[in-house]
Symmetry: C2
Subunit: 236 residues, 2 copies
Amino acid sequence: MEAQDKTETRSETQPETQTEAGTLHQTLVANIRNLLIEGGLAAGQRIPEAELCQRFGVSRTPLREALKVLASEGFIQLRPNRGAILAPLDPGQIAPIFELKGALERLIGLTAADRATEAELTRLSTLHHALNDTLASGNLASYTQLNYDFHKGLAEATRNAELMQSYDILQQKIWRFRFLVNDSFSRIEESFAEHEQIMIALRARTPLDLAARLEAHNQKTCDAMQRAVAQLDQPG
Amino acid sequence: MEAQDKTETRSETQPETQTEAGTLHQTLVANIRNLLIEGGLAAGQRIPEAELCQRFGVSRTPLREALKVLASEGFIQLRPNRGAILAPLDPGQIAPIFELKGALERLIGLTAADRATEAELTRLSTLHHALNDTLASGNLASYTQLNYDFHKGLAEATRNAELMQSYDILQQKIWRFRFLVNDSFSRIEESFAEHEQIMIALRARTPLDLAARLEAHNQKTCDAMQRAVAQLDQPG
DNA sequence: AACCGGAATTTTGAATGCAAAATCGCCCTG
DNA sequence: CAGGGCGATTTTGCATTCAAAATTCCGGTT
């Protein structure tokens, strides 16, 4: 059942990426990234080219090109003449990632409050209500997906493509940790309460309040993530 | 003479990148990136694989792998079956880049003030004095290089690798605009005065002051950059 | 059982080849 | 002169091949 939930979560995100792409290269990058995150591979594990070629039904050339991009994204590490490994997940990375994301959240808060269109507010409200529905049904996978969409929508409302791109990169990195901790990272009731506050500030178009709410939300998520990862080291 | 200055500026940055690398792939990425920034190519210009292979003396395979990475960095745009083009430089990108960089500068200020070691302070002071020397001699190329090193050193003092990486990506993007505007973007006296204030706040280890100084410095650089780019549209 | 050395096998980095798509150049027509 | 069509040429995406590096396997020695 858990494995099933994972598949659902990513499958809903993955098609979006594919429809935006169009080339084998970009499809391959996304598919391999998906496999790296959800495929049950262990950090540090070797990623043989031949296996991937067989799995995805492509020759080595486009496969290697995709691996190069994934390496520059930090998902894998290339070792000369020894192949690629899945980049190790270092719990020490959590704090720096969330610290940086906190700075981006603040900027999102300061700018989205003024720049969001009414249409965007409506969309975010719709997502917010969907989050509420998912909370009632207790569907973690759906909540996670909608949460991703909600925050992505907020970043888009800033109208700063650079910010959106940087934010998404961080979301992808956090995604891998989420899969690592699985259900032990579940704070959806608390999260939704924070989303309520975020929506209030957004509707009121109060930049400082919105920024503070987003930063606090980010910090709490960081704390929960660190606790969940710390629990992985404890005996079952 | 201008062409000579450009070469000097990048050559001093480029060797550092190469020594950190070690593989043909990484060397090629750096070399092509350098060519894209300083090679006098026009935005939107086609980048034929065959030319690059000849120029760098490699076969198409590693060349294509490098191009894929540069595309994911946003330096080039890949068009299916039509080859790569140098990504257009849109003046509208300046504000978003600097807006995001402003958020990072703030975080750098808030964290470096507490986290910088004495050795790092010493190094930054040395760079600061070198900047002063360069100001006296009016060497723009050297000032630009040392300025890059100074800000990089500040980012390193935060001890946040994610932040350092994101900051460097933005620096690289800004670099391209710098080459576009060339000498019309010259504010080294004003810049140095701002660096003085930055050093004072850093030595005093006052996070809020340092953050404010870095943000102001960033904003003024943004303003100057936008003015310089706007002048490019004016009749010579 | 553990360790070492050498041979065999596998994997990787890069070159080359092939077919499809795009571009270029030339000629004809209005 | 401008535009369109067609053939020739070039460029691109990807498969395949080759040589070097790394890993694995096997046998012998302690």
